[in-house]
Symmetry: C2
Subunit: 297 residues, 2 copies
């Protein structure tokens, strides 16, 4: 195994690294929970966290190039990789992080900001760059679901504008820490219940907070099943989000989803139910394509 | 001081007791953090928690009547005080709790449920009963802000229908446990920023989750001040709630607010800005009036 370079997706909670060949094929994968938050909390040694994970891939006498994106480039990160301002190319400038070791050379992608409405991204721009590396002429809407879901309008090879929704984080807070935690199953998904919830807040987004309490009431009064409650909550939040997206711009015909499997299924079900055509692209391909693109730019 | 009876407001997190005279005047007040949740967590001795607080008011040889409302009557409470079904009188049936001591006699007010849309209340019905004890002919909308804010339609001496909004709980979760906690001041209120946020989600309730993330982005990009961010978040949530309330029924001319001072100010500012006439009533008067009414019914 001859590792040519290392790709790193370094977010708030996780560090994921891929050993890449000269032709950008995956040779190996490693991950740890040393995301930005845990490193900042323990004094900030980004270099050790990285070396601990990728040491098996290094070889004596060679400086291994590492290309990274995500919160590692934030103000509290390894080095602040400044924001480009949208509209701009998703292949942002790269900034070299200071290292003590002579075995690695680390380059971090800058994020993107939007002045009005104020918004920011770190990491998603690299995924969009990966998408455009596959299809340079792509025009349209890209959705990247997650803790902070991004909806991005791409045109003429640029990120034109974007908006972030707190959907995933609110779902986690409500299901784990609110009065609803007694009502919701900790896992499981019921498609019909999800779509019922989705439709109701898509049409009436102003009912989100009352519908949420209604789940608790239905559990008390009608023994609402935990998986149904969980799926309906997920539907309420997604219906609210997509109501916001659809009312913001022209009619949406198609969306490209860049997601991991579980979120892919949920978003596909929602969009499919309202006749929006969905193309899918895996997060991993998007990240690796975007980091490879950054090295060759 | 001759204590005739004890009034108790016994919620999820607090126990508040008033020593009352024969003519229903307040003689003394005591409170503790022995709400239902802490008692359930420590094995469930409701009687001791109550006696610890009100012992100074007891006299030998007399059984002190205690009238209580709130979560103490829930399934996990002292004794389950079943729900009445709306539409119904806010003066619900009272249920006697089992006691070991011969010094007290405890009566707990039942809550109210609504089959469709499914909803429940425990404690607020007693506050409405207190309101109606003052003005038996009251007709209209009553708002009881809190962790789970209730909007109640009162007519012909009955609670006709109601709806609960998770507004307060979501504000607490977002301000204390989400990505916004870095952005928000822990206290303070800016009326102009509040009203700006209120207006935006009142008109566009579908933007709630993107507006929330926007606060974080504005803090990163424009050094948005913590008090402004906190006030705007509060405005976003209230605008969303009141958008739901106004779209649910006929045009609202006036609202009676039953609230403590801090929430009173916020709700008054919001309703005033959209020309809804506000009457105010203190939570304490409402609870004591409702518990007194229950004793005489």
């Amino acid at each position: 195994m001859k590792v040519d370079w290392v790709a790193a997706d370094w977010g708030s909670t996780n560090l994921r690294c891929w050993a890449m060949s000269e032709s950008d094929k995956i040779l190996d994968f490693a991950h740890s929970d040393r995301g930005m938050k845990s490193i900042v909390a323990t004094g900030g040694d980004f270099e050790s966290a990285l070396l601990d994970l990728i040491r098996p891939w290094l070889e004596p006498g060679r400086k291994m190039p590492v290309a990274a994106c995500g919160m590692v480039g934030a103000k509290q990160g390894w080095i602040e990789a400044p924001y480009s301002v949208a509209p701009c190319s998703p292949t942002t400038q790269r900034y070299q992080a200071p290292t003590h070791s002579h075995e690695i050379e680390v380059w971090i992608h800058g994020g993107i900001q939007q002045p009005k409405p104020a918004d920011v991204m770190r990491g998603e721009e690299t995924q969009i760059a990966g998408l455009l590396a596959e299809g340079p002429d792509y025009e349209g809407l890209v959705c990247l679901p997650g803790t902070h879901t991004k909806w991005v309008t791409v045109s003429q090879g640029k990120i034109q504008r974007f908006r972030t929704y707190l959907t995933g984080e609110v779902f986690a807070l409500l299901s784990e820490q609110s009065v609803l935690k007694l009502t919701l199953a900790s896992e499981g998904w019921d498609r019909a219940a999800f779509l019922e919830g989705f439709q109701s807040t898509l049409e009436r987004p102003e009912t989100l907070l009352s519908e949420c309490f209604g789940l608790r009431a239905e559990a008390l009064l009608n023994d609402l099943e935990g998986v149904v409650a969980r799926s309906r909550l997920s539907g309420f939040l997604l219906g609210h989000e997509i109501s916001g997206v659809t009312k913001e711009g022209p009619k949406i015909e198609a969306v490209t989803l860049v997601a991991a499997d579980s979120l892919m299924e949920i978003y596909e079900a929602a969009l499919d139910s309202i006749w929006i055509y969905v193309r899918t692209f895996s997060t991993e391909s998007a990240i690796l394509g975007g980091l490879a693109k950054g090295r060759n730019t």
